[in-house]
Each structure stands twice: as C-alpha cells, then as structure tokens.
C-alpha cells in the first residue's frame, strides 16, 4: 500500500486538474499559471543537479532552455505546418498528438549535446572559471539564434500555437497542461532516482571532495558529463514546453535574466534539496503573478502619504525590486534557503509512515 500512496496522490491531483480544465472550471489564466509552475519546477530541479548536488556555480541555464525550445518548435513547425524554414507539411495534423512528446525529447537531446559545450571544459576548470564558461555559453547560444535569420533571427519564431490546436482537434483535452504535468512528475522522479542511486551519489561525492571521490573510484569526468547533460536535457524539455505554451519565442527571452530566475529558485529552495526546488518554484511563480495584483494596492497606499506626488506611479517594475529584496533578506536570516540540503520528510518525519519509495 505504502508504495502506491504518492503515485496515487499525484495521479488524482493531475487528473483532477486536467478534468477541471477540460470542463472550464479553471480559467485560462489559472491554467497558464499551473503550467508555468510546472516549467519552473523542471528548470529549478534540473539546475539543482549542477548547483546543488554537484556544488558548482553554473549560471547559464537558459541557454539549454533556448536550444530545446528552438529545436522542438522548428521540428513541429516543419513536420505539421507550412511555415518556414522548410515548406511542409510532411505529416498529417492528427499525428501531432503522438509526435509532440517525441519532438520535445528530441529538443532535450540536442540541448544535452549543447550541454557538452559546458561539460568538457568542466574537467579542468573549477568554480568561478566554470561560472564564466556557462555565462559565456549563454551569451553564445543567444547570439547564435539571433544570427539565424532562417529562424526569425532577433524577431523570434511564431506559430507554435497551431500545433497545440492540432492536438486539441484530435482529442479535445487541455493537452499542454497534460504534457507539462507528465514531464514535471517525470523530471522530479528521474532526478530523485538519479541522486539516490549508487551511480548518482558520485555527483554528491564530487561536491564534497573531488580528489577523494576520484580516489574512491568515482569517474569524476564521466560523472560531470552525465550531470551536465541530464541537467541540460531537462532544461531543453522545459524550453520546448515553454515555447508551445506561449506560441512565440525570441532569443532575448532566454538571456541572463531567465538564467537568474532559475538561480533564484534553486537558492531560494536550498541547494541539494529536490522538495526545496519544487516549493521554491511554486512560491516564485505565485509571487511573480501575485505581485501583479499587489502593486496597484501598494500604489494607492503610498499615495495616501502626502509627500508622494500624484504624478508618480508605482509600475509593475517594482516586482523586480521586491523579489530580489525578499531573497536578500532571506539570505540574511536563513542563508541555506527554505529547505537547505534537506527534504520534506526530514522536516516532517511522520510523513514517512504514509509512503515508501522503492
């Protein structure tokens, strides 16, 4: 019984969400927020492999997201629509439903290959120099896409919404929501299985002491490649989902700012804590969306103070002052993040009675 409790709970939650979305109990806005939470969970958890479990400081995560987004979008556009770069369609629209996860995974695989660009230098270089290499990789990837005129260049790429419509034409369900839920659960599952396996513990060993790990027969180079590629693969999948939800991507949306968001989520949740990443991603997304409604209230509140001129308006820009400020304050009082190296079960030991992972 214990073994099935968590999967059953997830299944009930997911099915409930999908059904509610199908019968219009959740409006489009709430659905989008749920999808973004899912994508942010994938991003935060995958970056946590490198920054948390392996203890490096990679700050170019959005690069892999961009690769995944572009590859899966271009594949789908070429296969099912007649938009450039190639005149299609090559396949009937009904197949979109079955091939969509395949294109997502293809995007992930190409992103994993791009991850090699960072993984290979990481054999020799350590912390700060590696941070630079990831940063440079982010700039390079963004610039490659800006210079690819066939993919829209700096103007971006459009038309991914069509693929989503093809899917819902075939079977009338909120497909993007379903895919996001599936891949989010899959991501957390893969990462949990990976870092608790004997093989994956090599990553944690590298974080503790690389030389000792090497002596204890952990093949550190191979381990680093595995970690970077897995992280990039999952980021690529997140990118593919992101592209199809928005229906529009441009290279500048995968810049340093996006990478910073991923970093914020990892450190907010706590390094090397998977449940921390999940919680932080949920919190962060809700915070960004919630502040949309809070800022007008704040605006009217400060105008009650007689010193403030009437012409001055608090804009949505304030969001990016409040969020960093919250994080800085959190760092002052709880520098290890929300969870800090521990999982949910370490905080609530009684939970262990109700579930058991294999």
């Amino acid at each position: 019984m214990k073994r099935f409790s968590v999967p059953a709970l997830l299944l009930i939650l997911a099915a409930g969400t999908v059904l509610a979305a199908r019968f219009d109990l959740l409006d489009q806005y709430v659905q989008t927020i749920i999808m973004f939470i899912g994508i942010n969970i994938i991003l935060a958890a995958s970056l946590n492999i490198i920054n948390g479990y392996m203890g490096e400081f990679a700050c170019g995560h959005a690069a892999f997201m961009a690769v995944g987004a572009y590859v899966s979008s271009v594949l789908n556009l070429v296969l099912f629509t007649n938009s450039p770069p190639l005149a299609g369609p090559f396949l009937p629209e009904a197949l979109a439903l079955f091939l969509f996860p395949v294109t997502l995974i293809a995007g992930g695989v190409v992103a994993a290959l791009a991850g090699l660009m960072v993984a290979v230098p990481s054999f020799k270089t350590r912390d700060d120099y590696l941070a630079i290499i990831t940063l440079a990789a982010n700039f390079i990837v963004c610039n490659i896409f800006i210079n690819l005129e066939s993919l829209g260049g700096a103007r971006g790429l459009m038309g991914m919404k069509k693929i989503v419509f093809f899917m819902s034409d075939a079977v009338d369900l909120p497909w993007m929501l379903i895919w996001v839920l599936i891949f989010t659960v899959l991501t957390v599952f893969i990462i949990r299985r990976f870092v608790t396996s004997t093989y994956g513990k090599g990553i944690i060993a590298i974080c503790q002491d690389e030389v000792a790990a090497e002596i204890m027969s952990v093949n550190t180079d191979r381990m680093k490649v595995a970690a970077f590629m897995l992280s990039a693969f999952l980021a690529g999948i997140a990118g593919g989902l992101y592209a199809h939800i928005l229906g529009y991507i441009n290279p500048n949306s995968f810049g340093i700012m996006k990478s910073t968001e991923c970093l914020v989520m990892v450190y907010l949740g706590g390094m090397a804590s998977l449940s921390g990443s999940v919680l932080a991603a949920i919190l962060f997304t809700l915070l960004i969306e919630g502040l949309r409604f809070v800022i007008p209230v704040l605006d009217s509140a400060i105008h009650l103070i007689p010193l403030v001129p009437d012409t001055y308006q608090l804009s949505q820009v304030v969001k990016w002052i409040i969020i960093p400020l919250l994080l800085v304050l959190l760092m002052q009082f709880r520098p290890e993040g929300i969870m800090g190296n521990r999982e949910l079960a370490d905080f609530l030991p009684r939970l262990r009675k109700y579930y058991k992972f294999k």
Partner: protein, 304 residues
C-alpha cells in the same frame, strides 16, 4: 586599409579602457574576498547617474559653473559617492553573510540580487526616460594623417593607463596594499598579525567602486545617453574579461579588458555587427579552455 586599421585600434583602445576600469574593480574584490561581486556593473551605472545629477546641478545647462570647473568638482564627488554606495552594499548585504561563514555561492547570489535591485530601483524611481549627459568638454578633433582622434578618447585611454599604474603601485608599494595581498594569500593569518580584516575589505570596496564611478563619468562623457541597464551588459563582459586575464591579478584585469576591446572592435570591422558577441565570447571561451586559470592567473594547487 592601414589607416582604417589604425583607426580601429585607436577605438579599441578607448573601448578597452572602459572594460579595464570595470574589470579592475571586479578583480580587486575577487582577489581579496574570493567573491564575484556581480553588482559591480550596476555600481558603474550608479556612478554614471551620480555624475549626471551632480554635473546637471552644477552646470545648469551652461548657466552655472563653467564646464571645466564642473568636471573638476564632479569627478572627486562622484568617486566618493559611488564608493560610498559600494561600501554600503558590502556592509549591509555581504558582511553579515561573511560573518556567518556561509557557502560562498550564497554571497554571490546576494550580489546578483543587489545588482537587480539597483537596476530596477533606478528604473522605478527615475523613470524609463533616458537621461542625456551635459556637454562639459568642447570636442577637439586631432587629425594625425588619416586617423582622427578626439581629446576625450585620448583622455579616456590615458586615464585607464594612469589608474592601472597607480593601482599597481598602491598594491605593491604601500602597507595597505601589502595587507590586501596578504588577505588574498591567507585570510586566517591576517587577524593574527593585528590587521583588521574588515578595514582592508572596506578599502578594497572603496577602491573598486571609485574606479567604477570614474569609468561611469568617462562613459557618460563619451556616450552621453544614460539608461538603467547600461551597466548590466558592460559589467558581465568586463567580468569575463577579468577572468580571461586571470582574476585576482591586476595586470590580468587590465590586459583582459583591452583584449576584449580589441576583439570586439576588430570583429565588428571584419564581420556584420550582430556577430560581435558571438565571436568575442567564443574566442574568450577558447582561451579559457586552453588556459583554465586565465592569462596571468596562477594554478591553484589543492592539498590532499
């Protein structure tokens, strides 16, 4: 072709000067604290804005002081105020974390967040309209054969070189400089020698931030349009330049800044300008892969 090349080299020297001045600040802080101060590019931006407000207040569109007098007052005031900004950041954000002895990465993230606060705070409170810097200097163009130089560009290049020489002398010839080198060599032995670690760190931040302020003034004079995000990209690039030079080494930062300036200008001369970052970063990345510690950096040995 030759005169074109000489003109480009001259422009590269000017562009590299800005990178060098900012990279020096990064390197000073990193060398002493082992901390990547990601807010440094935004401190440069703050410096440019402080210079704008002081000079606008004194110059009053030509009604107030003369251009030269304004500049003479603006430069020291800006450097003082910018270094105050840098030291404040260190006091309220970095020092408590350092005292707790937390993982270095959390300090780096805090620095990144402080940079965001400065950028967006500026955007929220001063508005998105771009500020244009007053013309404080009369432009004089010197024609040396086919190459045209302006007096401002020459001043920028000379300032960067002079700052580098002064800083090098300061770090290698004075007692405080010796203490700074000692901190980067062994942080735990320093308090035992009766030197206050915090005082040295404050001096470091003061130096680095005042250089950023100086760079801000020069940048605002050369390109008189200010916007809140001007420091972000320049800061990232200067930081990468500092690392390629070998972070923690003053010569490295200086050379790295000029190297990046040269690469960028020459790429733009040869290729379409959209390829600038792509090729520049690819070259820097290749350099880092070949020499993982940078051009002047020393290989760190780990004791087993």
């Amino acid at each position: 072709m030759t005169e074109n090349l000489i003109q480009n080299i001259f422009n590269a020297l000017q562009w590299g000067s800005f990178y060098s001045l900012i990279a020096l600040g990064y390197t000073l802080v990193y060398g002493v604290l082992r901390l990547i101060n990601f807010a440094h590019g935004d401190i440069f931006m703050v410096g440019a804005y402080i210079a704008f407000f002081i000079s606008a207040f004194l110059f009053k569109g030509g009604e107030g002081l003369s251009g030269g007098a304004t500049l003479a007052l603006t430069i020291p005031l800006t450097m003082i105020l910018t270094s105050a900004c840098g030291v404040t950041l260190e006091r309220i954000a970095y020092r408590p974390l350092r005292r707790k002895g937390v993982n270095r990465l959390y300090v780096v993230i805090t620095a990144l967040m402080c940079g965001l606060i400065l950028e967006y705070g500026n955007l929220a409170f001063l508005g998105a309209s771009r500020k244009s810097f007053p013309e404080l200097m009369d432009k004089v163009v010197y024609q040396v054969g086919p190459v045209s130089m302006t007096n401002l560009k020459i001043i920028v290049i000379l300032t960067a070189v002079a700052v580098f020489l002064l800083l090098n002398a300061f770090v290698h010839r004075t007692k405080i400089g010796m203490a700074m080198r000692a901190v980067s060599y062994d942080r735990f032995a320093i308090p035992l020698m009766g030197i206050s670690l915090d005082a040295i760190i404050v001096v470091t931040f003061t130096l680095g931030s005042s250089l950023a302020g100086l760079a801000g003034i020069l940048y605002a004079l050369s390109y008189p349009v200010l916007d809140p995000f001007m420091g972000a990209m320049l800061g990232w690039k200067a930081f990468i330049a500092a690392v390629v030079g070998g972070i923690g080494d003053i010569r490295g930062a200086f050379v790295g800044g000029f190297l990046l300036g040269f690469i960028e200008i020459l790429v733009v001369a040869a290729f379409p300008s959209t390829f600038r970052d792509l090729i520049a970063f690819s070259i820097l990345m290749t350099l880092l892969v070949i020499r993982p510690t940078g051009l002047f950096g020393l290989a760190q040995s780990t004791k087993i």
